[in-house]
């Protein structure tokens, strides 16, 4: 299985060495605006370093990627436990909802960016498998007493159905390591592939994947617009982009409760369970710095997605954005 990978990541080796840079390698005909930061729109080729946000701090852009890397490197071991503690297990429902929205048919190729410990990919494979089994059951039921004509026609025609494949791509090797261990423990051997890569410069060819998901990862990307454009690039025509991310809560009362919980409880949990206050402080701050639902929808449309829709979960705490490359 490993030997017969299609869409083989071409730049994996290079990436292990230049994982930190946020500078993009110029590919043929890259328009000027790809190097823009998400906030300003100007055409002067910047030579001086631009600043961006890291939680509530301001840091130079090239530092942000490094610091995000360090955050996830330190939380990797306790990532899943902390997810359960912080969201009281609700993150599982959010991810299940993402899969239901995706409704993947068997045989699709998934790129799970910032996939880290592989939550989305495992669910994807399970879902596709259960759909396939249901299809087979229905077909078997319909074919209970095939006539000799049908048997003769089907003889030798067993087409190999396309297997679903999930590619987990993450910039952080620690997270991937944890994910691989989880896969082994769960007994998932085929169908998942683990790749180190930067969401702003994916190590894949064009038009490779049917579905691109990024769950709770895009707010950590330095240049979100670039990540969206990379998503457009690697998706097949007709492919779907799905983003599950924390977003703005519209209800003011809920918003106050949510803020209080985020800033008072979560960093404390981080310190107690994972021994890392600052990482979880960064986490809740970065949620506040992420654009709201409508703004992100416009960013997706700018990148070239069609039929962009979003769905609020838990009152806006989390939003699923969906777009198609048509």
């Amino acid at each position: 299985m490993a030997a017969s990978l299609r869409g083989i990541p071409k730049k994996v080796l290079r990436f292990t060495n230049r994982r930190i840079t946020s500078r993009t390698a110029p590919t043929a005909g890259v328009p000027l605006n790809r190097r823009e930061p998400p906030t300003a729109r100007n055409f002067s080729a910047e030579s001086e370093p631009k600043d961006t946000h890291f939680g509530f701090q301001t840091v130079p852009e090239h530092e942000k990627a490094e610091r995000v890397y360090k955050v996830f490197e330190s939380v990797a071991q306790k990532y899943d436990v902390m997810n359960d503690a912080m969201s009281l297990g609700i993150h599982r429902l959010w991810k299940d909802t993402l899969l239901h929205v995706m409704n993947p048919q068997p045989g699709l190729q998934l790129l799970d960016t910032a996939g880290g410990t592989g939550d989305i990919s495992f669910r994807f494979l399970e879902y596709a498998q259960s759909v396939r089994q249901r299809q087979l059951r229905q077909r078997a039921r319909a074919n209970q007493t095939p006539s000799w004509v049908e048997v003769a026609a089907d003889y030798g025609k067993e087409a190999e159905p396309m297997e679903s494949r999930a590619m987990v791509c993450d910039i952080n090797k620690e997270m991937l390591k944890v994910g691989k261990e989880r896969a082994e423990r769960a007994g998932i051997t085929s169908g998942v592939h683990w790749v180190v890569g930067d969401a702003e410069e994916l190590p894949f060819d064009d038009n490779q994947f049917d579905v691109y998901t990024i769950a709770f990862g895009i707010r950590n990307v330095t240049h979100i617009q670039q990540a969206l454009q990379e998503a457009v690039r690697v998706l097949k025509p007709g492919g779907r982009f799905l983003c599950l991310e924390f977003s703005k809560v519209s209800n003011p009362l809920l918003s106050k409760l949510y803020d209080a919980y985020s800033f008072q409880v979560i960093p404390v949990l981080g310190e107690v369970i994972a021994g890392d206050w600052m990482s979880y402080q960064y986490l809740v701050e970065s949620i506040r710095r992420f654009p709201d639902q409508e703004t992100f929808k416009e960013m997706m449309e700018d990148a070239g997605f069609f039929r962009v829709q979003y769905m609020n979960l838990t009152g806006g705490v989390v939003a699923i954005h969906s777009g198609f490359k048509l």
Binding site: G238, E301, G304, F306, R307, F324, L326
Partner: protein, 337 residues
């Protein structure tokens, strides 16, 4: 002004990038030939705009086509822009030209095909997989794949299989309307004689029901989908337009209660005949057409009977009035003193 210049410069740069992509992809997507034509038209429109603002030199391999078409593109550009501005579903809500041209050629062509049209094409392509997969999202996914799109694009349809069935019903209804209009034309031109109302209704309902024959095995599933709460409003709408069309071409111009009674009657006939057809196993559905004949005859009989009852009633009333006057005459009560 400066921003407009910058925007057009950016557009030109984006166009150059996409044109290079197009050249690279020329051999890779034969299904997209129609879309690529659309793209080339779009690219030329944008180049015409750029040259007007004197910002960039168009790429050399497009130069001669650009030269030849620039004069008329100038005028068609404004009309295309108006068209896309007025079309509420065109592309997406962003009306600014600067952002749409960084995209690859497949999306570029979306300017010339709205999302609705693309959805309609996918659903039409999905119909051929219905006998195999039933009226389900899998059929839509298979249809999308024949168009060269990924199966994930079936997620565009929020209503899933319901969208597919409604699309099919709408297509059948518009096809029937076309056939009826043609027949009407022939009658106007005198090629064919006018049919009686009952014959016309019978033929129209039979034509419409015959469109179901390729999908008759899975039609019960479709009927149940049409009855689901999210779909029931749309399915009733389609049914009422169907019945209205048939009566219109049958010549009904009534403006009184007859309008409602006629349409109610035809709705009943259509639905019951459809149910009979679904479980009919006779050759070429003869029993269904016989059933249809009987129902139409019943309705016509009812109409005649109603008229007869009314005139009989009037006659009876007049007779009674006459008898009363005679009795008054006989008893001498009618005399004026």
């Amino acid at each position: 002004m400066a921003t407009a210049l910058l925007r057009s410069l950016r557009a030109a740069v984006g166009v150059r990038r996409t044109l290079s992509c197009v050249v690279a992809q020329t051999c890779s997507s034969p299904q997209y030939s129609g879309l690529r034509r659309g793209f080339h038209r779009a690219a030329l429109l944008r180049l015409a705009d750029d040259s007007k603002s004197n910002q960039t030199v168009p790429p050399p391999y497009h130069h001669e086509r650009f030269q030849a078409q620039e004069p008329q593109k100038g005028s068609s550009f404004s009309s295309a822009e108006e068209a896309s501005a007025s079309d509420p579903d065109a592309q997406h809500e962003d009306p600014q030209p600067n952002t749409s041209y960084q995209d690859q050629s497949g999306e570029q062509a979306e300017d010339y095909e709205t999302e609705d049209q693309l959805q309609a094409r996918i659903l039409t392509a999905a119909l051929e997989f219905v006998p195999q997969h039933g009226w389900t999202v899998e059929a839509i996914a298979a249809g999308a794949e024949t168009l060269g799109l990924s199966a994930a694009s079936a997620g565009m349809f929020d209503n899933g299989a319901g969208d597919l069935v409604l699309h099919f019903v709408a297509e059948c209804n518009s096809q029937l309307a076309k056939i009826l209009a043609e027949q009407h034309n022939h009658i106007q031109l005198g090629h064919v004689e006018k049919k009686t109302t009952s014959e016309f209704l019978r033929d129209a309902v039979e034509t419409r029901l015959r469109m179901l024959i390729p999908y008759i095995d899975t039609w019960p599933q479709a009927m149940s989908l049409l009855l689901l709460p999210p779909n029931i409003a749309n399915s009733l709408k389609h049914l009422s337009t169907l019945v209205d069309d048939i009566w219109y071409y049958a010549g009904d111009r009534s403006t009184d209660l007859n309008w409602y009674t006629r349409r109610a009657a035809l709705t009943g006939i259509y639905n019951t005949t459809e149910l009979v057809m679904v479980q009919d196993s006779s050759p070429d559905f003869e029993e269904t057409w016989a059933f249809l004949d009987n129902r139409i005859r019943d309705v016509v009989n009812m109409a005649n009977t109603a008229k007869q009852v009314q005139s009989t009633g009037e006659a009876v009333v007049q007779g009674l009035m006459g008898a009363a006057v005679t009795i008054k005459n006989l008893t001498g009560m009618n005399q004026r003193r």
